[in-house]
């Protein structure tokens, strides 16, 4: 029996900042102190505060150490684990108080969160099925198989109000209900772990941190719709998730929680993995199923819907990873419990991936309907460097932006839709006054142009033409006519594309046009980029009043664009202007970063 647990995050974020070395160092140091029978070292999934990685949490005190390096470990072991003295300098800043430290749950980042889908992430060892069972794992499957009929299961999911977390927000119970009556020799339960939305990584986190929750939920879905085979489609770029899923499936099979005659009830269910190569379109449900079949991942028209004719032409359901992660909890705690969280039509919690110009980047899970302000200012810790909040992009390349004037909007499906945004898969990219909205729209459109599968003309060619117009605008070469054309094209692509990739591709343009049309016009008419981002429309200049002529900028300039001014005049004993920036300038901004006197400015 251990008296203390040291949890080291082994999620993708922390692993890339060196958490595995930290874990090894703990094992070594603990052994050196002879504590190996008293203190357990546990590798977990992601705890959400990726910014602060590698993250180490010591229980039972719940002390949250941030940015731990291997060289810090000996001190933690000798001081904290042996003598009980918390190493304050390594504790997450937010958790430090005047007279000690507070627990994680009391910090701004965590106190407003409600963890349902992420409940085990960062808490259990995802490679040990016993730890999952120790937190109530597979009890929901047991309950469903021994106490409930498939129709009762579907009713609970319906009553909970759970809607798909993969983007479209379709009611999960209804999806299952539509599939259940369809008779066939084989039916399939699929899981969408493709997670193509740039900036979103909650599905990766669930698969890495709590893979059994997804397996259990898929088995429950199998029982509900009458299927004995599941497939998880996960992108090959998630090697840790793939590895943990493989281990989880193996352990579940060994325990007989997957396979034949589960809990002696006669119910059979097994799950296999399929790896995707990372095409965005393969996250679309019909393309995903086509890809599992071993064919080129392209969407096909619906109907027939997958509930009737899905994978291998058989009735199938597809749900997102995060959607599944909610299911076992709903079964155990009841539909009312889940429905008590959130708003009228958006129930439960949602995981958001906070990124961009925000202090605390990472994963946060909050009840639906939480005001955007709480997410940005409290949980996210606000905008760094004293900059002004400008907008947040939700839903990635299919979504739109919420401008600062809507900062009090409750975040749920309906409210975001009312201003032309979507919850989407939960990506939230925060932007400040230094972001150019035309440039943002261009960024997302570049993504869709790359990722369009090419099957239908509207998407393949339409998005390319849109990007050309946007580039013309950011280059300062567009006319107001181009803007009208762009708006027309948006509607055309939206209405004529086969799948939601094309149908939603214009959203970032439409939404920035709606809220920031003045920025478009500034680029077109005044040939100016108000945020100073679009390189063609701005120059770097030297303020002669502030320049002292030290030439630090000239030395650092990669293009040798900064020269001594041959025509400078002598004023008050100084040659002015002493330095000038020539046409060779590549607008990299290195000079501005070098200048200690703030003499270089963008115009």
């Amino acid at each position: 029996m251990y008296r203390s647990h040291v949890l080291v995050c082994g999620g993708t974020g922390c692993t890339s900042s060196g958490s595995l070395k930290v874990k090894e160092a703990f094992e070594k140091a603990i052994k050196a102190e002879g504590l190996e029978k008293e203190v357990a070292v546990v590798e977990t999934g992601c705890h959400g505060l990726c910014q602060m990685g590698p993250v180490v949490i010591v229980y039972p005190d719940a002390t949250f150490y941030a940015r731990v390096e291997a060289k810090d470990v000996e001190e933690i072991v000798k001081e904290h684990l042996l003598k009980g003295r918390i190493v304050k300098r390594l504790v997450y800043e937010e958790a430090q108080t005047e007279d000690g430290v507070k627990t994680l749950a009391d910090t701004n980042f965590y106190s407003k969160q409600v963890r349902v889908a992420l409940r085990n992430c960062g808490v259990i060892n995802p490679e040990d099925i016993d730890e999952y069972i120790g937190t109530g794992g597979y009890e929901a499957l047991g309950k469903v198989l021994t106490e409930m009929t498939p129709d009762e299961v579907i009713q609970v999911i319906l009553d909970s109000g759970l809607r798909g977390r993969g983007g479209a927000g379709f009611p999960t119970g209804l999806k299952w209900k539509l599939c259940r009556p369809n008779q066939a020799d084989k039916k399939y339960v699929c899981c969408n772990g493709d997670e193509g939305d740039p900036g979103a990584f909650m599905d990766r986190s669930v698969l890495e941190g709590d893979p059994h929750a997804v397996l259990e939920a898929m088995a429950i879905a199998g029982y509900a719709i009458g299927s004995d085979q599941g497939y998880i489609y996960v992108r090959a770029e998630y090697p840790i998730a793939v590895e943990r899923l493989k281990i989880a499936i193996k352990q579940a099979r060994e325990y007989g929680l997957l396979g034949k005659n589960i809990f002696g009830t006669g119910f059979n269910f097994d799950i296999d993995l399929r790896l995707g190569a990372g095409a965005f379109v393969c996250g679309e449900e019909t393309a995903l199923m086509t890809s599992i079949e071993g064919k080129r991942g392209e969407p096909r028209p619906r109907p027939p819907f997958p509930a009737v004719k899905g994978l291998f032409g058989k009735p199938s359901i597809l749900n997102n990873v995060e959607t599944y992660a909610n299911i076992p909890q709903i079964i155990l705690k009841g539909a009312e419990w889940f429905a008590s969280m959130g708003t009228e039509k958006s129930k439960g919690t949602k995981v958001f991936a906070l990124g961009g110009k925000i202090k605390n980047t990472g994963l946060v899970e909050i009840p639906m309907g939480t005001p955007l302000r709480t997410i940005i200012e409290n949980i996210g810790g606000g905008i760094p460097n004293g900059k002004k909040f400008k907008a947040v992009q939700t839903g990635g390349p299919s979504g739109g932006c919420i401008p600062a004037q809507y900062i009090d909007i409750p975040v749920d499906y309906e409210n975001l839709a009312s201003i032309g945004c979507i919850v989407g898969s939960g990506g939230m990219i925060v932007m400040d006054e230094d972001n150019c909205m035309v440039d943002i729209a261009k960024f997302f459109l570049e993504f869709t142009v790359d990722e369009s599968c090419g099957k239908c003309t509207a998407c393949r060619i339409g998005t390319r033409r849109m990007l050309e117009i946007l580039t013309k605008i950011t280059d300062g070469k567009a006319t107001m006519d181009d803007l009208t054309k762009l708006e027309e094209l948006c509607l055309y692509v939206k209405n004529n594309s086969l799948c939601a990739l094309g149908q939603t591709a214009p959203n970032p343009v439409l939404s920035t046009l709606k809220f920031f049309k003045d920025e478009y016009i500034a680029h077109i008419v005044d040939k100016k980029c108000p945020a100073g981002v679009c390189k063609a429309l701005m120059t770097y200049n030297i303020d002669p009043a502030k320049c002292i002529g030290c030439k630090a900028c000239a030395k650092g300039c990669p293009a040798n664009a900064i020269k001594v001014n041959a025509n400078s005049e002598v004023k008050e004993g100084k040659k002015l202007p002493y330095l000038v920036i020539g046409d060779e300038c590549v607008k990299c901004g290195a000079c501005q970063a070098t200048c200690k006197f703030g003499a270089i400015y963008k115009k």
Binding site: P60, L82, K83, G134
Partner: protein, 124 residues
């Protein structure tokens, strides 16, 4: 897995370990583990407390942790019990057996074991 009973058995085996990883408000049992405490034998006290709390399935309510030097080195090993909403109780000159008694009578039974507490030695 042939039955729910099998699942339950694994859960019971694991539960106490898992409950330790919670951020909830616990009763805290704190053992002084500075050099003075360790030299006086605080480590077996700590381990006995931790093991017994787990064996009794109390980890969801009680957290056993350590602290540094409490400043009363001659009375080590020292164990402090912090119960939410109650005054702190300090036990002095503890050993493994006394620790078990404190669990039985104080933490489970709800009665402070006066004879080991600091108050009893007239030090309060």
């Amino acid at each position: 897995m042939k039955s729910l009973a099998e699942l339950k058995a694994i859960k019971e085996k694991m539960q106490n370990q898992m409950n330790m990883r919670s951020d909830a408000d616990h009763t805290r049992v704190v053992v002084g583990m500075a050099t003075c405490g360790i030299a006086a034998g605080a480590r077996p006290v700590l381990n006995t407390l931790s093991d017994e709390i787990q064996k009794r399935g109390l980890t969801d309510k009680i957290a056993v942790t350590q602290t540094g030097c409490i400043g009363l080195c001659q009375f080590e090993p020292i164990v402090e019990v912090y119960e939410p909403g109650k005054e702190k109780v300090t036990y002095i000159k503890m050993d493994a057996e006394k620790a078990l008694e404190v669990i039985e009578r104080h933490l489970v039974g709800g009665h402070v074991v006066e004879k080991y507490s600091m108050g009893a030695s007239g030090l309060k």
